[in-house]
Subunit: 306 residues, 2 copies
């Protein structure tokens, strides 16, 4: 793997900070520059070793950058990509880490400069904690990173995006942006909404009687409200469909309990337990049982010409 | 604390096995006898150090027992209590570890011998894993144990039940059996139902794209189907009410997303995040912020005369 020159990270929070730590721990770049609006947070990120230097001025800070990763909230990514592509080297790769992709990729298409440099990405890694203080160099190891190239994405940028995210430890998955959003609505956004609703269902005075099921089931409800409001609204249709799907499953369980139907309830629970077992297999082996290779093309295949 | 003579554990799975390990690790009993239907599982429990000896015959195995803890599924507890009270010493304390209490306590009242020896208990500790192989001596440390005495519960048995469960590391909470079931419907049974529905909502081929929110949110869906069918049906009314409460919270989030209402959604999420923060405080300090003492009477108050 060729060593990168300057890598710019726009937004040095949990994700941006972890990218910086991973780049520096693995010696993947000559220089990591963090861009942010708050000088103190940039200083903290530098003290933590996540960036070599920080700047509140993207035009100056990103000048000469070979790669820029935009790690701001989804509501700001399109604007930050436009700024980055004009500040970085003319042959720079611009990528992002947003949890939604369809709207972002569509909006970037309207900007010819951005379109020619941008490869949408979503590393599926994170935590309910935000801020560089919780960043970890190994956050991306063995985690999927979805790339969402379009027919307009130049092949060289796609190839470099694959290389960049793999170098952080990710296994690469390539998907259509809308298909990404529909999948993530179920695998990530729905679990967040469910956790929030579960948290709000239990009155404070009863919290002393809560156990592990509540603890784990509500963890991500502690996630940043503004960040998650942005994600859920940026993926509104698929999220609403995912909630409807979940409601039908909950209704089935409700009906079996209301009917006192032992057999139906036990059968439904067995299906759920099997789903959980399948997930544990996939997490351990990176693929479904019986698959010869991961369900999505990994980085080891030759790049498609597009 | 006075050392116990023989303690009988009926059902040596995760909970029964952990009680045995805790009793033996702390030297609280002269002898721990496990009662079960499967000889091999009793031998495993003995090999793991959870019991001193095992027996498939409660009448013989529990003879001379000072304390019997019934750790079988909720559907079997009443019957096992009746057997235990006739096999153990006439002054024995009989207690249980069932996740529901109202029906069990009511049914035990019909049996005068059982009623005079029984104190319903629910140590709020556990895991989605079952079996003595997952037992841990520290499973109960700092965990709440709800005792559900009635007006008929003899004061000496209640006092001994407090002593027994505290000796395993539990903090004692005393509640009316029906109030226990209503609280646990929200704090434990609802999170289990929600986890099951969430698991079933995500199709297998997408599991490779699931992250931490799905992982944590579905963990308890791997719990034993028969065990959980029994718990949910034994607490049907409160569980259905809890699901309705959860549905209203989910509907509020659904509406805010459908309306694209940034302010409403962010505000709702903030309330949820605050709830999670409150839970973390309670878990850390064992009480709500600003409380001088735990929300429920702890073991340090004198026993009520009943």
């Amino acid at each position: 793997l060729e060593r990168l020159g300057t890598v710019g990270i726009v937004g040095v929070g949990l994700i941006g900070g972890s990218i910086g730590l991973a780049l520096r721990a693995r010696g993947l770049a000559e220089r990591v520059v963090g861009i942010g609006r708050d000088v103190r947070r940039l200083e903290d990120a530098k003290a933590l070793g996540a960036i070599d230097e920080g700047s509140t001025e993207p035009t100056r800070g990103l000048s000469g950058a070979d790669v820029v990763v935009v790690c701001t909230p989804v509501t700001r990514i399109v604007e930050d990509v436009a700024t980055a592509v004009r500040a970085a080297r003319s042959d720079a790769l611009i990528t992002d880490a947003g949890s939604t992709k369809r709207q972002i990729v569509e909006d970037v298409q309207w900007d010819p400069k951005a379109r020619a440099a941008f490869v949408g990405a979503h590393p599926i890694a994170g935590s309910e904690k935000s801020g560089a203080a919780h960043a970890r160099a190994d956050l991306f190891e063995r985690r999927p990173c979805v790339l969402t190239p379009t027919a307009q994405t130049p092949a060289d940028r796609l190839e470099r995006a694959r290389g960049f995210w793999s170098s952080l430890g990710c296994r690469i998955v390539e998907m259509d942006p809308a298909a990404h959003d529909e999948a993530l609505a179920l695998t990530s956004h729905l679990p967040h909404v469910v956790a929030a609703a579960l948290t709000a269902s239990v009155p404070g005075p009863l919290l002393g009687l809560a156990g592990g099921a509540y603890r784990d089931g509500t963890r991500v409800a502690g996630s940043d409200p503004a960040l998650w409001t942005g994600i859920l609204l940026a993926n509104r249709g698929p999220v609403l469909d995912a909630i409807d799907r979940f409601r039908r499953m909950l209704d089935a369980l409700h009906s079996a309990i209301a009917a006192g139907d032992t057999a139906a309830l036990e059968q439904t629970w067995k299906v759920c337990a099997a789903g959980r077992e399948l997930f544990e297999f996939v997490e351990k082996f990176g693929q479904l049982p019986g698959e010869d290779r991961p369900p999505h093309p990994p980085f080891d295949r030759p790049p498609s010409p597009n």
